[in-house]
Point group: C2
Chain length 124, copies 2
Amino acid sequence: MQETGLAASERPRITAPHRELLDQVLDKWSLQVLEELCEQPQRFNELRRAIPVVTQKSLTAALRRLERNGMVERVVTSTRPLAVQYRITPLGTTLQGLLDALLCWTTVNMADVERARERYDDEV
Amino acid sequence: MQETGLAASERPRITAPHRELLDQVLDKWSLQVLEELCEQPQRFNELRRAIPVVTQKSLTAALRRLERNGMVERVVTSTRPLAVQYRITPLGTTLQGLLDALLCWTTVNMADVERARERYDDEV
DNA sequence: CAGAATCCAATCAGATACTG
DNA sequence: CAGTATCTGATTGGATTCTG
């Protein structure tokens, strides 16, 4: 499992591919899309309404990125007019714990962060 | 299937302040700065060398953001030429677990993601 | 050394119009 | 409904120059 006997302090580094994946998955709209789809599958315009001020363009881009990375599945029903449902994939659900952890962290530390901001803004 | 009080589906939502904080802390360069400073305090140019291709401008911006949000502390020694050391704060260290979790997730799922990308790119 | 200031190219986001 | 296409104004990122 380990090539060499590394010290505990030698934690894995963020490499370009990892960084890139996080970028695609943690960006502004993707997080909110994932959050919505974790709750239930939804259609395009449902998502649009559920996520406050996302434009159609940004939502489309976020969905395509998530689909490409295997986080979200696009299910088309060829009716007239056609219906498209987006749903989270098994791979996508592995992100849910992480999302919760992120949200938990912001909730716990928001007050401290706001104090830090006030201090910083005052002294400058 | 669900208890009184909060339904299981009623998970906390990402609100604007939370989203904004995550943006400031999870962006491309900030993650790598935090990773570096979690290992040891470093000076400006040390960080610059440690983080492959960051420009001075981007590094400065990331450090200012992290400082403003209380994640990083800037320690100035008024020598000639002056020395500036950046170090992680206690609040900043609360992010470390999250960073590890993020990195762990990418490591575990990278292969699946790459397969998903190939599938997507092929069919389009 | 540790930046600030400036200029410029490239990217992005919003609005609008159109389509199967 | 679920998008695509296009135009445009704003924001970003890199390169360069300068400074205490």
